[in-house]
Symmetry: C2
Subunit: 286 residues, 2 copies
Amino acid sequence: MVERLSIIGVGLIGGSFALAARRAGLVREIVGYGRRAANLQLARERGAIDRIAATVGEAADGADVILLAAPVGVCVALARELRPHAPADAVLTDVGSVKGGLVPALEHAWGTGAWVVGAHPIAGSEQTTVAAARADLFIGRRCVLTPTAATRPAAVALVRGLWEGVGARVEEMDAHRHDELLARVSHAPHVVAYALVDAVAAWAHGADALAHAGTGFADTTRVAGSAPELWRDIVLANAPAVRAALAEFGVALATFDDAIARGDGPALDALMGRARTARERVGGGA
Amino acid sequence: MVERLSIIGVGLIGGSFALAARRAGLVREIVGYGRRAANLQLARERGAIDRIAATVGEAADGADVILLAAPVGVCVALARELRPHAPADAVLTDVGSVKGGLVPALEHAWGTGAWVVGAHPIAGSEQTTVAAARADLFIGRRCVLTPTAATRPAAVALVRGLWEGVGARVEEMDAHRHDELLARVSHAPHVVAYALVDAVAAWAHGADALAHAGTGFADTTRVAGSAPELWRDIVLANAPAVRAALAEFGVALATFDDAIARGDGPALDALMGRARTARERVGGGA
Protein backbone atom coordinates (compact mmCIF):
# COMPACT_ATOMS: atom_id res chain seq x y z
CA MET A 1 0.00 0.00 0.00
CA VAL A 2 1.17 3.50 -0.86
CA GLU A 3 1.05 5.85 2.11
CA ARG A 4 0.68 9.11 0.22
CA LEU A 5 -0.14 9.55 -3.47
CA SER A 6 -0.08 13.05 -4.92
CA ILE A 7 -1.94 13.62 -8.15
CA ILE A 8 -0.94 16.65 -10.17
CA GLY A 9 -3.88 17.47 -12.45
CA VAL A 10 -7.09 15.86 -11.20
CA GLY A 11 -9.03 15.60 -14.46
CA LEU A 12 -10.55 12.61 -16.22
CA ILE A 13 -7.41 10.45 -15.96
CA GLY A 14 -6.05 11.68 -12.64
CA GLY A 15 -9.50 11.65 -11.08
CA SER A 16 -10.39 8.21 -12.40
CA PHE A 17 -7.09 6.82 -11.15
CA ALA A 18 -7.77 8.32 -7.72
CA LEU A 19 -11.28 6.86 -7.53
CA ALA A 20 -10.06 3.47 -8.70
CA ALA A 21 -6.98 3.37 -6.43
CA ARG A 22 -9.11 4.27 -3.44
CA ARG A 23 -11.74 1.66 -4.24
CA ALA A 24 -9.03 -0.98 -4.64
CA GLY A 25 -7.42 0.03 -1.34
CA LEU A 26 -4.07 0.79 -2.97
CA VAL A 27 -3.34 4.06 -1.15
CA ARG A 28 -3.84 5.51 2.31
CA GLU A 29 -4.01 9.19 1.40
CA ILE A 30 -4.53 10.98 -1.91
CA VAL A 31 -3.50 14.61 -2.27
CA GLY A 32 -4.64 16.62 -5.27
CA TYR A 33 -3.06 19.63 -6.91
CA GLY A 34 -4.18 21.56 -9.97
CA ARG A 35 -4.91 24.87 -11.63
CA ARG A 36 -8.63 25.08 -11.12
CA ALA A 37 -9.98 25.35 -7.57
CA ALA A 38 -13.52 24.39 -8.61
CA ASN A 39 -12.28 21.22 -10.22
CA LEU A 40 -10.26 20.25 -7.15
CA GLN A 41 -13.25 20.88 -4.91
CA LEU A 42 -15.37 18.65 -7.12
CA ALA A 43 -12.63 16.00 -6.94
CA ARG A 44 -12.80 16.14 -3.15
CA GLU A 45 -16.61 16.07 -3.15
CA ARG A 46 -16.53 13.02 -5.41
CA GLY A 47 -14.15 11.30 -2.98
CA ALA A 48 -11.30 11.17 -5.46
CA ILE A 49 -8.88 13.09 -3.23
CA ASP A 50 -8.61 13.48 0.53
CA ARG A 51 -7.23 16.97 0.49
CA ILE A 52 -6.21 19.78 -1.82
CA ALA A 53 -2.61 20.94 -1.87
CA ALA A 54 -2.50 24.74 -2.07
CA THR A 55 1.00 24.82 -3.51
CA VAL A 56 3.37 22.63 -5.48
CA GLY A 57 5.47 22.30 -2.35
CA GLU A 58 2.51 21.01 -0.36
CA ALA A 59 1.71 18.55 -3.14
CA ALA A 60 5.23 17.14 -3.12
CA ASP A 61 5.70 17.09 0.64
CA GLY A 62 5.98 13.54 1.98
CA ALA A 63 4.63 11.97 -1.21
CA ASP A 64 5.61 8.37 -1.88
CA VAL A 65 4.29 8.52 -5.41
CA ILE A 66 3.63 11.61 -7.52
CA LEU A 67 1.37 11.07 -10.52
CA LEU A 68 1.65 13.73 -13.20
CA ALA A 69 -1.74 13.76 -14.90
CA ALA A 70 -1.36 17.24 -16.34
CA PRO A 71 -1.10 18.14 -20.03
CA VAL A 72 2.06 16.78 -21.67
CA GLY A 73 3.29 20.30 -22.39
CA VAL A 74 3.60 21.28 -18.72
CA CYS A 75 4.82 18.03 -17.13
CA VAL A 76 8.54 18.78 -17.20
CA ALA A 77 8.09 22.23 -15.68
CA LEU A 78 5.91 20.72 -12.96
CA ALA A 79 8.48 18.03 -12.22
CA ARG A 80 11.12 20.72 -11.83
CA GLU A 81 8.90 22.65 -9.41
CA LEU A 82 8.00 19.55 -7.40
CA ARG A 83 11.53 18.19 -7.06
CA PRO A 84 12.93 20.37 -4.22
CA HIS A 85 9.88 19.63 -2.06
CA ALA A 86 9.62 15.87 -2.64
CA PRO A 87 11.34 13.06 -0.70
CA ALA A 88 14.57 11.91 -2.38
CA ASP A 89 13.12 8.51 -3.21
CA ALA A 90 9.64 9.65 -4.25
CA VAL A 91 8.49 7.85 -7.38
CA LEU A 92 7.51 10.17 -10.21
CA THR A 93 5.21 8.78 -12.84
CA ASP A 94 2.96 10.25 -15.51
CA VAL A 95 0.10 9.38 -17.87
CA GLY A 96 1.25 11.22 -21.00
CA SER A 97 0.26 10.08 -24.47
CA VAL A 98 3.84 10.59 -25.68
CA LYS A 99 6.85 9.11 -24.00
CA GLY A 100 9.94 9.39 -26.21
CA GLY A 101 11.00 12.95 -25.44
CA LEU A 102 9.07 13.29 -22.22
CA VAL A 103 10.58 10.51 -20.10
CA PRO A 104 14.25 11.58 -20.48
CA ALA A 105 13.18 15.16 -19.74
CA LEU A 106 11.38 14.01 -16.60
CA GLU A 107 14.44 11.99 -15.56
CA HIS A 108 16.57 15.07 -16.01
CA ALA A 109 14.14 17.26 -14.08
CA TRP A 110 13.97 14.66 -11.28
CA GLY A 111 17.75 14.61 -11.00
CA THR A 112 17.80 10.84 -11.48
CA GLY A 113 16.13 8.27 -13.68
CA ALA A 114 16.02 5.80 -10.82
CA TRP A 115 12.57 6.81 -9.54
CA VAL A 116 10.95 7.99 -12.77
CA VAL A 117 8.52 5.63 -14.51
CA GLY A 118 6.87 6.73 -17.74
CA ALA A 119 3.34 5.38 -18.11
CA HIS A 120 0.48 5.72 -20.58
CA PRO A 121 -2.92 4.27 -19.78
CA ILE A 122 -4.74 3.89 -23.11
CA ALA A 123 -8.10 5.07 -21.88
CA GLY A 124 -10.03 8.28 -21.89
CA SER A 125 -12.44 10.30 -23.92
CA GLU A 126 -12.80 13.76 -25.37
CA GLN A 127 -14.05 14.85 -21.95
CA THR A 128 -11.27 15.95 -19.67
CA THR A 129 -12.66 17.05 -16.31
CA VAL A 130 -13.06 15.19 -13.04
CA ALA A 131 -16.82 15.34 -13.54
CA ALA A 132 -16.38 12.54 -16.12
CA ALA A 133 -14.01 10.49 -13.91
CA ARG A 134 -14.98 6.86 -13.28
CA ALA A 135 -13.43 4.25 -11.00
CA ASP A 136 -13.80 1.64 -13.77
CA LEU A 137 -12.14 3.66 -16.55
CA PHE A 138 -9.02 1.51 -16.68
CA ILE A 139 -10.52 -1.96 -16.27
CA GLY A 140 -9.32 -4.13 -19.11
CA ARG A 141 -7.49 -1.21 -20.76
CA ARG A 142 -3.83 -1.35 -21.64
CA CYS A 143 -1.28 0.66 -19.69
CA VAL A 144 2.15 0.94 -21.28
CA LEU A 145 5.16 1.49 -19.00
CA THR A 146 8.37 2.76 -20.58
CA PRO A 147 11.21 2.19 -18.09
CA THR A 148 14.72 3.13 -19.19
CA ALA A 149 18.12 1.69 -18.32
CA ALA A 150 18.17 4.07 -15.37
CA THR A 151 14.84 3.06 -13.84
CA ARG A 152 14.98 1.04 -10.62
CA PRO A 153 13.06 -2.23 -10.89
CA ALA A 154 11.39 -1.45 -7.55
CA ALA A 155 9.93 1.75 -9.00
CA VAL A 156 8.61 -0.10 -12.04
CA ALA A 157 7.10 -2.77 -9.80
CA LEU A 158 5.37 -0.16 -7.68
CA VAL A 159 3.84 1.65 -10.66
CA ARG A 160 2.92 -1.65 -12.29
CA GLY A 161 1.18 -2.71 -9.09
CA LEU A 162 -0.88 0.46 -9.01
CA TRP A 163 -2.07 0.13 -12.62
CA GLU A 164 -2.76 -3.57 -12.27
CA GLY A 165 -4.58 -2.74 -9.06
CA VAL A 166 -6.99 -0.45 -10.92
CA GLY A 167 -7.63 -3.17 -13.49
CA ALA A 168 -5.32 -2.23 -16.36
CA ARG A 169 -3.38 -4.71 -18.50
CA VAL A 170 0.19 -3.51 -17.98
CA GLU A 171 3.01 -4.02 -20.44
CA GLU A 172 6.51 -2.59 -20.76
CA MET A 173 7.72 -1.11 -24.01
CA ASP A 174 10.48 1.05 -25.40
CA ALA A 175 9.33 4.69 -25.34
CA HIS A 176 10.19 5.26 -29.00
CA ARG A 177 8.23 2.18 -30.05
CA HIS A 178 5.26 3.38 -27.97
CA ASP A 179 5.32 6.72 -29.77
CA GLU A 180 5.50 5.06 -33.19
CA LEU A 181 2.46 2.89 -32.40
CA LEU A 182 0.39 5.66 -30.84
CA ALA A 183 1.15 8.03 -33.71
CA ARG A 184 -0.71 5.57 -35.96
CA VAL A 185 -3.73 4.77 -33.82
CA SER A 186 -4.16 7.93 -31.80
CA HIS A 187 -2.15 11.03 -32.61
CA ALA A 188 -2.51 11.08 -36.41
CA PRO A 189 -6.19 9.99 -36.24
CA HIS A 190 -6.87 12.98 -33.98
CA VAL A 191 -5.35 15.25 -36.63
CA VAL A 192 -7.44 13.50 -39.30
CA ALA A 193 -10.62 14.03 -37.30
CA TYR A 194 -9.89 17.71 -36.69
CA ALA A 195 -9.05 18.21 -40.39
CA LEU A 196 -12.21 16.41 -41.47
CA VAL A 197 -14.42 18.78 -39.51
CA ASP A 198 -12.35 21.76 -40.58
CA ALA A 199 -12.64 20.85 -44.27
CA VAL A 200 -16.42 20.57 -44.08
CA ALA A 201 -16.76 23.79 -42.11
CA ALA A 202 -14.59 25.63 -44.65
CA TRP A 203 -16.68 24.42 -47.60
CA ALA A 204 -19.14 26.90 -49.16
CA HIS A 205 -22.16 25.04 -47.74
CA GLY A 206 -20.36 23.77 -44.66
CA ALA A 207 -22.94 24.78 -42.09
CA ASP A 208 -25.69 23.07 -44.08
CA ALA A 209 -23.54 19.96 -44.48
CA LEU A 210 -22.75 19.77 -40.75
CA ALA A 211 -26.46 20.09 -39.99
CA HIS A 212 -27.04 17.02 -42.17
CA ALA A 213 -24.37 14.91 -40.51
CA GLY A 214 -25.54 11.66 -38.96
CA THR A 215 -24.20 9.41 -36.25
CA GLY A 216 -21.44 8.14 -38.56
CA PHE A 217 -19.86 11.57 -38.91
CA ALA A 218 -20.38 12.21 -35.21
CA ASP A 219 -18.42 9.02 -34.41
CA THR A 220 -15.70 9.65 -36.99
CA THR A 221 -15.05 13.15 -35.66
CA ARG A 222 -15.74 12.56 -31.95
CA VAL A 223 -12.08 13.01 -31.00
CA ALA A 224 -12.13 16.43 -32.71
CA GLY A 225 -14.08 17.45 -29.60
CA SER A 226 -10.85 16.93 -27.63
CA ALA A 227 -9.08 19.86 -26.01
CA PRO A 228 -6.66 21.59 -28.42
CA GLU A 229 -4.33 22.58 -25.58
CA LEU A 230 -3.74 18.87 -24.88
CA TRP A 231 -3.51 17.59 -28.43
CA ARG A 232 -1.40 20.42 -29.81
CA ASP A 233 1.35 19.44 -27.37
CA ILE A 234 1.00 15.69 -27.91
CA VAL A 235 1.18 16.05 -31.68
CA LEU A 236 4.16 18.41 -31.55
CA ALA A 237 6.00 16.23 -29.03
CA ASN A 238 5.70 13.30 -31.45
CA ALA A 239 5.87 15.30 -34.68
CA PRO A 240 8.14 13.03 -36.80
CA ALA A 241 6.07 9.90 -36.13
CA VAL A 242 2.78 11.77 -36.53
CA ARG A 243 3.90 13.19 -39.86
CA ALA A 244 5.07 9.75 -40.99
CA ALA A 245 1.67 8.32 -40.04
CA LEU A 246 -0.13 11.11 -41.90
CA ALA A 247 2.00 10.44 -44.97
CA GLU A 248 1.15 6.72 -44.82
CA PHE A 249 -2.52 7.64 -44.49
CA GLY A 250 -2.19 9.96 -47.49
CA VAL A 251 -0.87 7.08 -49.58
CA ALA A 252 -3.76 4.84 -48.52
CA LEU A 253 -6.30 7.58 -49.21
CA ALA A 254 -4.82 8.19 -52.67
CA THR A 255 -5.24 4.49 -53.43
CA PHE A 256 -8.94 4.73 -52.58
CA ASP A 257 -9.26 7.97 -54.57
CA ASP A 258 -7.62 6.35 -57.59
CA ALA A 259 -10.10 3.49 -57.50
CA ILE A 260 -12.98 5.99 -57.30
CA ALA A 261 -11.52 8.01 -60.18
CA ARG A 262 -11.32 4.85 -62.31
CA GLY A 263 -14.82 3.81 -61.29
CA ASP A 264 -13.21 0.55 -60.24
CA GLY A 265 -15.85 -1.20 -58.14
CA PRO A 266 -13.93 -4.46 -57.59
CA ALA A 267 -10.82 -2.57 -56.44
CA LEU A 268 -12.88 -0.41 -54.06
CA ASP A 269 -14.67 -3.48 -52.76
CA ALA A 270 -11.33 -5.18 -52.07
CA LEU A 271 -9.84 -2.10 -50.36
CA MET A 272 -12.90 -1.55 -48.18
CA GLY A 273 -13.11 -5.25 -47.37
CA ARG A 274 -9.45 -5.38 -46.38
CA ALA A 275 -9.88 -2.36 -44.10
CA ARG A 276 -13.04 -3.78 -42.57
CA THR A 277 -11.26 -7.05 -41.76
CA ALA A 278 -8.25 -5.24 -40.30
CA ARG A 279 -10.55 -3.20 -38.11
CA GLU A 280 -11.69 -6.36 -36.34
CA ARG A 281 -8.27 -6.35 -34.67
CA VAL A 282 -8.86 -2.97 -33.04
CA GLY A 283 -8.54 -3.16 -29.30
CA GLY A 284 -10.60 -0.73 -27.26
CA GLY A 285 -14.31 -0.37 -27.71
CA ALA A 286 -14.43 -1.80 -31.24
CA MET B 1 -53.37 4.83 -43.98
CA VAL B 2 -51.52 2.82 -46.61
CA GLU B 3 -53.26 -0.46 -47.43
CA ARG B 4 -50.25 -2.39 -48.62
CA LEU B 5 -46.59 -1.44 -48.23
CA SER B 6 -43.97 -3.61 -49.87
CA ILE B 7 -40.43 -3.35 -48.59
CA ILE B 8 -37.69 -4.53 -50.91
CA GLY B 9 -34.70 -5.33 -48.74
CA VAL B 10 -35.67 -5.79 -45.10
CA GLY B 11 -32.40 -4.90 -43.38
CA LEU B 12 -31.62 -2.27 -40.77
CA ILE B 13 -33.38 0.58 -42.59
CA GLY B 14 -36.23 -1.38 -44.23
CA GLY B 15 -36.83 -3.37 -41.07
CA SER B 16 -36.75 -0.34 -38.79
CA PHE B 17 -39.15 1.50 -41.08
CA ALA B 18 -41.50 -1.49 -41.01
CA LEU B 19 -41.42 -1.73 -37.22
CA ALA B 20 -41.95 2.02 -36.85
CA ALA B 21 -44.72 2.26 -39.46
CA ARG B 22 -46.57 -0.62 -37.82
CA ARG B 23 -46.22 0.84 -34.35
CA ALA B 24 -47.51 4.19 -35.63
CA GLY B 25 -50.45 2.52 -37.38
CA LEU B 26 -49.46 3.94 -40.78
CA VAL B 27 -50.03 0.77 -42.81
CA ARG B 28 -52.44 -2.14 -42.88
CA GLU B 29 -50.20 -4.81 -44.40
CA ILE B 30 -46.44 -4.98 -44.86
CA VAL B 31 -44.95 -7.36 -47.39
CA GLY B 32 -41.25 -8.12 -47.39
CA TYR B 33 -38.98 -9.22 -50.21
CA GLY B 34 -35.27 -9.85 -50.19
CA ARG B 35 -32.36 -12.06 -51.07
CA ARG B 36 -31.87 -13.91 -47.82
CA ALA B 37 -34.64 -16.21 -46.60
CA ALA B 38 -33.27 -16.35 -43.05
CA ASN B 39 -33.32 -12.57 -42.81
CA LEU B 40 -36.90 -12.38 -44.06
CA GLN B 41 -37.97 -15.01 -41.57
CA LEU B 42 -36.35 -13.04 -38.77
CA ALA B 43 -38.16 -9.92 -40.04
CA ARG B 44 -41.46 -11.79 -39.78
CA GLU B 45 -40.62 -13.19 -36.35
CA ARG B 46 -39.77 -9.69 -35.16
CA GLY B 47 -43.14 -8.45 -36.42
CA ALA B 48 -41.64 -6.16 -39.03
CA ILE B 49 -43.46 -7.76 -41.94
CA ASP B 50 -46.74 -9.65 -42.22
CA ARG B 51 -45.68 -11.93 -45.01
CA ILE B 52 -42.79 -12.80 -47.26
CA ALA B 53 -43.10 -12.35 -51.01
CA ALA B 54 -41.51 -15.28 -52.79
CA THR B 55 -40.98 -13.36 -56.03
CA VAL B 56 -40.59 -9.82 -57.24
CA GLY B 57 -44.02 -10.14 -58.85
CA GLU B 58 -45.62 -11.10 -55.56
CA ALA B 59 -43.87 -8.18 -53.85
CA ALA B 60 -45.25 -5.70 -56.38
CA ASP B 61 -48.73 -7.15 -56.63
CA GLY B 62 -51.34 -4.76 -55.26
CA ALA B 63 -48.79 -2.57 -53.48
CA ASP B 64 -49.78 1.02 -52.78
CA VAL B 65 -46.24 1.96 -51.81
CA ILE B 66 -43.03 0.13 -52.67
CA LEU B 67 -40.03 1.03 -50.53
CA LEU B 68 -36.68 0.17 -52.05
CA ALA B 69 -34.38 -0.41 -49.09
CA ALA B 70 -31.86 -2.46 -51.05
CA PRO B 71 -28.26 -1.46 -51.82
CA VAL B 72 -28.04 1.59 -54.11
CA GLY B 73 -26.33 -0.47 -56.81
CA VAL B 74 -29.31 -2.77 -57.37
CA CYS B 75 -32.25 -0.37 -56.96
CA VAL B 76 -32.76 0.47 -60.63
CA ALA B 77 -32.70 -3.18 -61.71
CA LEU B 78 -35.21 -3.99 -58.97
CA ALA B 79 -37.50 -1.14 -60.05
CA ARG B 80 -37.42 -2.49 -63.59
CA GLU B 81 -38.35 -5.97 -62.38
CA LEU B 82 -41.10 -4.69 -60.10
CA ARG B 83 -42.76 -2.37 -62.65
CA PRO B 84 -44.78 -4.88 -64.74
CA HIS B 85 -46.32 -6.39 -61.61
CA ALA B 86 -47.14 -3.19 -59.73
CA PRO B 87 -50.35 -1.12 -59.94
CA ALA B 88 -50.00 1.79 -62.39
CA ASP B 89 -50.24 4.37 -59.61
CA ALA B 90 -48.07 2.56 -57.04
CA VAL B 91 -45.69 4.98 -55.34
CA LEU B 92 -42.04 3.97 -55.60
CA THR B 93 -39.70 5.39 -53.03
CA ASP B 94 -36.24 4.50 -51.76
CA VAL B 95 -33.81 5.15 -48.92
CA GLY B 96 -30.59 5.48 -50.90
CA SER B 97 -27.67 7.56 -49.64
CA VAL B 98 -27.21 9.05 -53.11
CA LYS B 99 -29.97 10.68 -55.09
CA GLY B 100 -28.58 12.60 -58.07
CA GLY B 101 -28.16 9.79 -60.56
CA LEU B 102 -30.47 7.34 -58.86
CA VAL B 103 -33.78 9.24 -58.90
CA PRO B 104 -33.86 9.94 -62.68
CA ALA B 105 -32.92 6.31 -63.28
CA LEU B 106 -35.75 5.16 -61.03
CA GLU B 107 -38.16 7.52 -62.83
CA HIS B 108 -37.06 6.03 -66.12
CA ALA B 109 -37.40 2.45 -64.85
CA TRP B 110 -40.85 3.27 -63.42
CA GLY B 111 -41.98 4.64 -66.76
CA THR B 112 -43.02 7.93 -65.15
CA GLY B 113 -41.64 10.33 -62.61
CA ALA B 114 -45.11 11.04 -61.30
CA TRP B 115 -45.09 8.34 -58.61
CA VAL B 116 -41.38 8.19 -57.81
CA VAL B 117 -40.17 9.95 -54.67
CA GLY B 118 -36.48 9.83 -53.79
CA ALA B 119 -35.85 9.76 -50.05
CA HIS B 120 -32.86 9.47 -47.75
CA PRO B 121 -33.34 8.99 -44.03
CA ILE B 122 -30.10 10.07 -42.35
CA ALA B 123 -29.97 7.28 -39.81
CA GLY B 124 -28.31 3.95 -39.54
CA SER B 125 -25.17 2.28 -38.32
CA GLU B 126 -22.47 -0.01 -39.59
CA GLN B 127 -24.83 -2.89 -38.83
CA THR B 128 -27.10 -3.73 -41.73
CA THR B 129 -29.36 -6.64 -40.84
CA VAL B 130 -32.92 -6.73 -39.55
CA ALA B 131 -31.53 -8.07 -36.26
CA ALA B 132 -30.41 -4.49 -35.53
CA ALA B 133 -33.71 -2.89 -36.63
CA ARG B 134 -35.42 -0.61 -34.12
CA ALA B 135 -38.81 1.09 -34.24
CA ASP B 136 -37.23 4.29 -32.86
CA LEU B 137 -34.37 4.51 -35.37
CA PHE B 138 -35.79 7.53 -37.20
CA ILE B 139 -37.12 9.56 -34.31
CA GLY B 140 -35.67 13.06 -34.53
CA ARG B 141 -33.52 12.12 -37.53
CA ARG B 142 -33.60 14.02 -40.79
CA CYS B 143 -35.17 12.50 -43.87
CA VAL B 144 -34.44 14.30 -47.14
CA LEU B 145 -36.96 14.00 -49.99
CA THR B 146 -35.78 14.91 -53.48
CA PRO B 147 -38.87 15.35 -55.67
CA THR B 148 -38.33 16.41 -59.28
CA ALA B 149 -40.44 18.50 -61.65
CA ALA B 150 -42.19 15.28 -62.64
CA THR B 151 -43.18 14.15 -59.14
CA ARG B 152 -46.89 14.42 -58.26
CA PRO B 153 -47.43 16.45 -55.09
CA ALA B 154 -49.76 13.70 -53.82
CA ALA B 155 -46.89 11.19 -53.99
CA VAL B 156 -44.58 13.54 -52.10
CA ALA B 157 -47.26 14.12 -49.49
CA LEU B 158 -47.77 10.41 -49.01
CA VAL B 159 -44.06 9.67 -48.56
CA ARG B 160 -43.65 12.72 -46.32
CA GLY B 161 -46.53 11.49 -44.17
CA LEU B 162 -44.91 8.09 -43.74
CA TRP B 163 -41.54 9.50 -42.68
CA GLU B 164 -43.10 12.09 -40.39
CA GLY B 165 -45.25 9.28 -39.03
CA VAL B 166 -42.14 7.34 -37.94
CA GLY B 167 -40.73 10.42 -36.25
CA ALA B 168 -38.34 11.82 -38.85
CA ARG B 169 -37.80 15.53 -39.56
CA VAL B 170 -38.62 15.69 -43.26
CA GLU B 171 -37.27 18.27 -45.68
CA GLU B 172 -37.23 18.61 -49.46
CA MET B 173 -34.05 19.31 -51.35
CA ASP B 174 -32.59 19.22 -54.81
CA ALA B 175 -31.03 15.81 -55.39
CA HIS B 176 -27.73 17.28 -56.57
CA ARG B 177 -27.51 19.49 -53.49
CA HIS B 178 -28.25 16.47 -51.29
CA ASP B 179 -25.36 14.57 -52.88
CA GLU B 180 -22.98 17.50 -52.45
CA LEU B 181 -23.82 17.75 -48.74
CA LEU B 182 -23.69 14.03 -48.05
CA ALA B 183 -20.39 13.66 -49.91
CA ARG B 184 -18.89 15.95 -47.23
CA VAL B 185 -20.42 14.49 -44.08
CA SER B 186 -20.93 10.86 -45.01
CA HIS B 187 -19.48 9.48 -48.23
CA ALA B 188 -15.97 10.97 -48.08
CA PRO B 189 -15.71 10.38 -44.30
CA HIS B 190 -16.44 6.70 -44.92
CA VAL B 191 -13.54 6.60 -47.37
CA VAL B 192 -11.34 8.41 -44.85
CA ALA B 193 -12.20 5.87 -42.14
CA TYR B 194 -11.52 2.91 -44.42
CA ALA B 195 -8.21 4.45 -45.53
CA LEU B 196 -7.19 5.20 -41.94
CA VAL B 197 -7.55 1.55 -40.93
CA ASP B 198 -5.92 0.39 -44.14
CA ALA B 199 -2.90 2.66 -43.63
CA VAL B 200 -2.32 1.37 -40.12
CA ALA B 201 -2.78 -2.26 -41.17
CA ALA B 202 -0.29 -1.79 -44.01
CA TRP B 203 2.36 -0.31 -41.72
CA ALA B 204 5.28 -2.56 -40.67
CA HIS B 205 3.99 -2.84 -37.09
CA GLY B 206 0.32 -2.47 -38.01
CA ALA B 207 -0.99 -5.44 -36.04
CA ASP B 208 0.76 -4.21 -32.90
CA ALA B 209 -0.56 -0.70 -33.47
CA LEU B 210 -4.15 -1.89 -33.94
CA ALA B 211 -3.87 -3.89 -30.73
CA HIS B 212 -2.95 -0.65 -28.93
CA ALA B 213 -5.86 1.35 -30.32
CA GLY B 214 -8.23 2.82 -27.79
CA THR B 215 -11.82 3.97 -27.87
CA GLY B 216 -10.88 7.08 -29.88
CA PHE B 217 -9.61 5.06 -32.84
CA ALA B 218 -12.57 2.69 -32.50
CA ASP B 219 -14.93 5.68 -32.82
CA THR B 220 -13.00 7.35 -35.64
CA THR B 221 -13.01 4.18 -37.71
CA ARG B 222 -16.40 2.75 -36.70
CA VAL B 223 -17.92 3.34 -40.14
CA ALA B 224 -15.07 1.32 -41.67
CA GLY B 225 -17.00 -1.63 -40.27
CA SER B 226 -19.71 -0.84 -42.86
CA ALA B 227 -20.45 -3.28 -45.67
CA PRO B 228 -18.17 -2.68 -48.70
CA GLU B 229 -20.89 -3.84 -51.11
CA LEU B 230 -23.05 -0.92 -49.98
CA TRP B 231 -20.42 1.77 -49.76
CA ARG B 232 -18.59 0.89 -52.95
CA ASP B 233 -21.77 1.67 -54.89
CA ILE B 234 -22.64 4.81 -52.92
CA VAL B 235 -19.16 6.26 -53.39
CA LEU B 236 -19.06 5.42 -57.11
CA ALA B 237 -22.57 6.79 -57.69
CA ASN B 238 -21.45 10.12 -56.21
CA ALA B 239 -17.83 9.99 -57.39
CA PRO B 240 -17.30 13.63 -58.48
CA ALA B 241 -18.63 15.08 -55.22
CA VAL B 242 -16.82 12.49 -53.12
CA ARG B 243 -13.54 13.24 -54.89
CA ALA B 244 -14.10 16.97 -54.46
CA ALA B 245 -14.73 16.42 -50.74
CA LEU B 246 -11.59 14.28 -50.44
CA ALA B 247 -9.58 17.00 -52.16
CA GLU B 248 -10.94 19.63 -49.75
CA PHE B 249 -10.06 17.34 -46.87
CA GLY B 250 -6.56 16.91 -48.31
CA VAL B 251 -6.08 20.67 -48.28
CA ALA B 252 -7.23 20.92 -44.67
CA LEU B 253 -4.99 18.03 -43.63
CA ALA B 254 -2.00 19.63 -45.36
CA THR B 255 -2.64 22.81 -43.37
CA PHE B 256 -2.47 20.82 -40.13
CA ASP B 257 0.62 18.96 -41.36
CA ASP B 258 2.35 22.23 -42.24
CA ALA B 259 1.74 23.57 -38.75
CA ILE B 260 3.16 20.35 -37.26
CA ALA B 261 6.19 20.53 -39.58
CA ARG B 262 6.84 24.12 -38.44
CA GLY B 263 6.32 23.17 -34.79
CA ASP B 264 3.78 25.98 -34.75
CA GLY B 265 1.82 25.46 -31.53
CA PRO B 266 -0.35 28.58 -31.79
CA ALA B 267 -1.37 27.73 -35.37
CA LEU B 268 -2.20 24.14 -34.40
CA ASP B 269 -4.11 25.37 -31.38
CA ALA B 270 -6.15 27.71 -33.58
CA LEU B 271 -6.85 25.04 -36.21
CA MET B 272 -7.91 22.46 -33.64
CA GLY B 273 -9.99 25.00 -31.76
CA ARG B 274 -11.76 26.09 -34.96
CA ALA B 275 -12.55 22.46 -35.80
CA ARG B 276 -13.75 21.73 -32.30
CA THR B 277 -16.10 24.70 -32.41
CA ALA B 278 -17.42 23.73 -35.85
CA ARG B 279 -18.07 20.22 -34.60
CA GLU B 280 -20.59 21.56 -32.11
CA ARG B 281 -22.87 22.14 -35.10
CA VAL B 282 -22.91 18.44 -36.02
CA GLY B 283 -26.40 17.06 -36.06
CA GLY B 284 -26.82 13.39 -35.21
CA GLY B 285 -25.41 11.88 -32.09
CA ALA B 286 -22.80 14.55 -31.47
